[in-house]
Symmetry: C2
């Protein structure tokens, strides 16, 4: 299994991956659920959370029917697989062989780890040319919620064993310093993701950083207006998906219009997560668009277009996943139909020249989102040096 | 306006923020839509896109009824406001005064800019203690899609004028080097976000980075299995929201259960973006949960709980935004009812001890997501050193 590949210190787990805790004695793994909620000190709470996870399995027995696992934060014991592996278990063993040959990147975080993951993802984008053909296969391993030195050192040692490089986002300066020193001692290539930018901002603001990991007491998320607005935007966007409730189009900040499989839904959701109420309206050949679409401010309506060949590829995959019959599929993904529908869309866009049409071919959702948001705000405001301005 | 605050070189815009291009002559702003699709060289294409945006406004005239704006990528002219400002225009002028006093952070990217935004966001989390009370208000300005030196230098100069610090993610080494040199010459504090991690990975892999900005030819997104899986997950999750289609619970990877306003929907969406099919089922006092919930693998079901006082606060805000009547509101957000419903949920969780219960109080969506995913995978796999493993 990918996740256990480098756990050479875990014969038991390799030989019996589904074994319960009873067969895999580990420190701090004895369940004490009844104490979970009474712990207060971060350190105790920290271990109690570790126990909570372990006890999660053991609770699956009549004797414990009234003691649920209560998780109060990021646990130091944080395990995930990549989407592919988690959704395609059979790929895991297949991955095994490749992993042996692949280079490893260890990411350590005292928080969720998403920042480290995001940065490494972006950097790996610079190596697509050899990643695609697996010329330089890479395995990233994200260890999140790492809040004590003991765990940190265990991970650094493992990185040394594996010949991995280490990338870390550790808010606590002493933890970051320890990671650095350990990497230097063991000759591990390392990069501090959070440190340099935090130090630069600290000297720019003339304020010291808190040094508190995300999720630590004092780092709680306030129930800000923005928090509520984002949730409202997400809920609104879900309800409006795929042309639902056309009478609500006027309430949307952004309205996306395009034929099936131009990515309207994932794009809407991505924008909603950024706080925008988005509605999307499908263009289907021969079907009239809702009257309300032409009654809303045309400056908030955006058309999406795509290359016919790419659209056909996407639709074929879609038709297959939906189990369309040959007949239906041919109509939906047959090239003549695809071209005609795109032409139909083009004619609608031509009749509504205020709607900018964005080409989504070959773009990731977040790229299209960046284009749409730029256009959206460019129509609201003008600058010779446009920028995304945000207040903190 | 926040976006134009620092454009001291823009008297016209300040005096007439809503003026159209006709009143604000700018280089390359004459619309030539008919040429948009014929440009091929990146530089020309680059400017054609700048024109495309400009022409976007001018097309709003009968004379141009058949020429839509076609945007082929990230334009150098990229304008957004923060969600707050964009959704609450009246806050902008209010922000004006604060902005004068606030420190600025310029972020320059040759791509979407989301990586720079994500990293700066994480770093600013270390200054919450003074950001909250605006003791050290910060304005970030993200310039994305910056692909040529001319624009880059214009931005660096503006940063110098504003006394801003510069943060950049520039894939092209010569652009990054130019940014660095210019900052040194003009005495601007700067941080290279992408460079260090990219260099470290390059030497670790023994492969040179492509130096290609995101969205550049050759950086197109392949229609990978993962791409389709994510879209499928998002679409599935939207359809299952709020207890819809209980017969499909078995198809979900993760099922979230909790009372109203425990964040099931935004959490589901966040997880869906990571490729998981999520269904969420609301717990409403006195209402039976769908039978199918007890027929699915209990190891994929997760309960959510929250502090009663916090829940009441959230529900009051919710009730207000939904325009509930006093009567309805009191039932929905009245403390006795809130406590009773949470107690009802607790009893259901107690009857299903395999479901781990996650405390969401004070957690951001992505923090709760990290906890849920850790539990999810911890139940599928075991390691002494758990980690998120991902293949590239």
């Amino acid at each position: 299994m990918i996740v256990c590949l480098s756990s050479s210190n875990l014969p038991k787990l390799h030989s019996s991956p589904t074994s319960s805790n009873q067969t895999t004695p580990e420190p701090h793994s004895e369940p004490q659920p009844q104490k979970l909620k009474t712990r207060s000190s971060p350190q105790l709470n920290h271990w109690s959370r570790a126990r909570a996870i372990r006890s999660g399995r053991k609770l699956d027995r009549p004797g414990h029917r009234s003691t649920n696992t209560v998780v109060e934060g990021n646990s130091p014991v944080h395990l995930q697989l990549n989407d592919r592996a988690s959704l395609e278990p059979e790929k895991i063993s297949d991955g095994h062989d490749v992993v042996e040959a692949a280079k490893s990147i260890y990411m350590v975080s005292d928080g969720t780890g998403w920042t480290a993951e995001h940065s490494v993802n972006a950097a790996l984008g610079q190596f697509e040319h050899c990643l695609v053909d697996r010329g330089c296969a890479v395995n990233t391993h994200l260890f999140s919620g790492i809040e004590d030195l003991e765990q940190l050192m265990e991970i650094v040692k493992q990185a040394a064993k594996e010949g991995a490089m280490l990338v870390y986002t550790l808010a606590d300066p002493s933890m970051a310093e320890s990671a650095k020193k350990a990497c230097e001692i063991w000759g591990i290539p390392f990069t501090d993701i959070l440190g340099p930018i935090t130090e630069a901002i600290a000297s720019h603001l003339g304020v010291s950083p808190s040094g508190l990991p995300r999720g630590a007491p004092g780092r709680n998320v306030p129930l800000s207006e923005e928090y509520f607005r984002r949730i409202e935007a997400i809920e609104f966007t879900i309800k409006q998906d795929d042309g639902a409730l056309p009478q609500n189009l006027k309430k949307a900040d952004i309205v996306l219009v395009g034929v099936s499989r131009t990515g309207k839904t994932p794009l809407s959701i991505y924008l909603a997560q950024k706080g925008y109420k988005v509605a999307n309206v499908p263009i289907v050949m021969g079907v009239d668009l809702p009257k309300s679409l032409f009654e809303v401010d045309p400056e908030k309506v955006f058309g999406l277009t795509i290359n016919p060949l790419v659209l056909q590829t996407i639709r074929k995959a879609r038709a297959k996943s939906l189990g369309f019959s040959e007949a239906t599929r041919s109509n939906y993904s047959e090239m003549d139909h695809v071209r005609e529908e795109l032409e139909f869309a083009r004619s609608i866009f031509a009749q509504n020249p205020v709607w900018p049409v964005t080409e989504v071919t070959g773009k990731a959702i977040e790229e299209t989102a960046a284009v749409i948001l730029r256009l959206y705000h460019d129509r609201k405001n003008r600058c010779s040096m446009p920028r995304i301005a945000k207040r903190y």
